[in-house]
């Protein structure tokens, strides 16, 4: 039996990985995806019977930061994911083949998995002047996307550039950079924005797809609800100080060190949807706000061009007008906590069956 024919359960069994391990992995992923814990058993059973999912990864107008963060994480989940749960059939930065051999690999991978592969894209798609500003093997990125998207089961737009155009799209956008969804409109697309994106979000989406044969529930910007259903602000440990009207006035001042809110320093947490505050970075060590810097809003469209820049508050340079916070504070905390709780639990539903 070839590796391609073997189920994941068979492959894991041969490598000494027990079903308990697969169940534990599923329990962790279920928690990460905000699914009911009872789904873990079904996820483990489905994963055991699944075959490795083909992923074809194309890099367009990008800095490789997305790939770096996904691969350099020390989280064992990612390594397991890359090597055990998916078949990364094409990725220019990681594969050994180059030149015409790489192009042949790409076409062979597409032919072997037609209609089944996930097409992962990082980087924006430059469309100005026929897309000449970013080429691979002489072919414009936009042309490659149009060529390989039709045979994909779904598209993963990884990072803010692929999702919304990102920094290349920043004014004056000389290359005409756009996101994947601006070019491809007739395929299921999952946006996993962030500059870079949180690695666990990609692993969650991939495992969900492999387990249930469909994409997870998405918000109106095609982001997985389980991870983007709440704002950074709603999950932030500094949020109670916002509700009490306590704001840091400068970076690393006494208030900032006491955990006071960074709103007046330009934090974009209240308008930014992402999982940084809950999943954090570097093995759950910290995230920008915990390190004393406001959120830049990097997972939102056009974050580089937002009005006022990174260091102007969302209220136009002032606090949010909480002079009468005495009575409002407790109520504010209550509303914030309840909102975060409700959002987290209404975001994800048990999978209902294959969509593809």
């Amino acid at each position: 039996m070839s590796a391609a024919d073997a189920t994941l359960g068979e492959m894991l069994g041969k490598s000494g990985f027990s079903r308990r391990g697969l169940l534990k992995f599923s329990i962790a992923m279920t928690a990460s995806l905000a699914l009911p814990p009872g789904v873990a058993s079904a996820m483990a059973a489905n994963l055991a019977q699944a075959r490795r999912q083909s992923v074809i990864w194309l890099s367009f107008q990008e800095c490789t930061g997305c790939l770096e963060t996904l691969l350099r994480t020390s989280s064992p989940t990612i390594a397991a994911l890359i090597f055990d749960y998916i078949s990364l059939d094409y990725q220019e930065a990681l594969m050994s083949a180059a030149g015409s051999a790489a192009e042949l690999t790409l076409r062979q991978a597409v032919a072997a998995n037609r209609g089944k592969y996930l097409l992962a894209i990082d980087g924006s798609v430059p469309v100005a002047d026929g897309g000449v500003y970013s080429l691979t093997g002489g072919q414009a990125n936009v042309s490659m996307l149009q060529q390989f998207a039709p045979d994909a089961a779904a598209i993963l737009a990884i990072g803010t550039c692929a999702a919304y155009g990102g920094i290349p799209k920043a004014y004056p956008n000389p290359t005409g950079a756009v996101g994947v969804e601006d070019v491809i409109t007739n395929k299921p697309i999952v946006n996993i924005p962030g500059c870079p994106p949180v690695p666990e979000v990609l692993s969650g989406v991939l495992v969900y797809f492999v387990s249930f044969g469909r994409l997870p529930d998405l918000d109106d910007r095609k982001r997985p609800l389980a991870y983007f259903g709440t704002t950074i602000h709603d999950q932030c440990y500094r949020r109670p100080f916002y509700d009490q009207g306590k704001f840091a006035k400068s970076f690393d001042d006494e208030g900032a060190r006491q955990g006071w809110c960074l709103f007046e320093l330009g934090c974009k947490g209240p308008t930014t949807h992402n999982a940084c505050a809950s999943l954090k970075w570097n093995d759950n060590t910290s995230f920008p706000i915990e390190s004393g810097h406001g959120c830049l809003g990097c997972s939102e469209p056009d974050f580089w061009d937002q009005e006022g820049g990174f260091y102007t508050s969302l209220a136009g340079g002032k606090g949010p007008g909480w002079e009468d916070t005495g009575i409002a504070a407790a109520g504010g905390i209550a509303v914030g906590a309840a909102a975060a709780f409700a959002a987290r639990h209404k975001t994800a539903k048990p999978p209902q069956g294959p969509q593809k």
Binding site: G13, F17, A31, P37
Partner: protein, 133 residues
């Protein structure tokens, strides 16, 4: 994540105990196992400690060592388990109240057992008779 400290730990603990009681009734009536994901709830450390203390210590405790340590122990309520899953770095990836005769993480899988049987046979100096297939 926000917490519900301002509501008081007792109220939250009572609510969670009621939910656990519903799960136990479901198991007793229909045999359906159930669980509550505590990490997915905005609970403070003090609330979790109060909940754990209220449930008490039962007769069984077990550690599963795979991809980090998982610890499950029966509370003072038979069939109500407190299960904590940590990854290789020690980070808690799931914290559950489980209602089951035995938590699923403890059950040996038949295919794993089949692989184990092959290993077992290899451990002996005798050639054990294989069952007729």
């Amino acid at each position: 994540m926000q917490n519900f400290d301002f509501l008081g730990d007792d109220g939250l603990v009572d609510a969670l105990l009621m939910e656990a009681a519903d799960l136990m009734q479901d198991f007793i009536s229909y045999g359906r196992a159930g669980s509550i994901d505590l990490l997915g709830l905005p609970l403070s450390a003090s609330c979790l400690a109060a909940l754990e203390a209220r449930l008490g210590q039962g007769e069984v405790a077990a550690t599963v060592s795979i991809s980090g340590e998982s610890q499950t122990r029966e509370t003072a309520i038979h069939g109500l388990w407190w299960t904590r899953h940590a990854d290789e770095t020690g980070r808690v990836v799931a914290l559950l109240i489980e209602v089951a005769a035995v938590p699923e993480i403890l059950r040996a899988d038949r295919e794993d057992m089949a692989r184990g049987l092959r290993r077992l046979r290899g451990l002996t100096n005798f050639r054990l008779a294989r069952p007729a297939s």
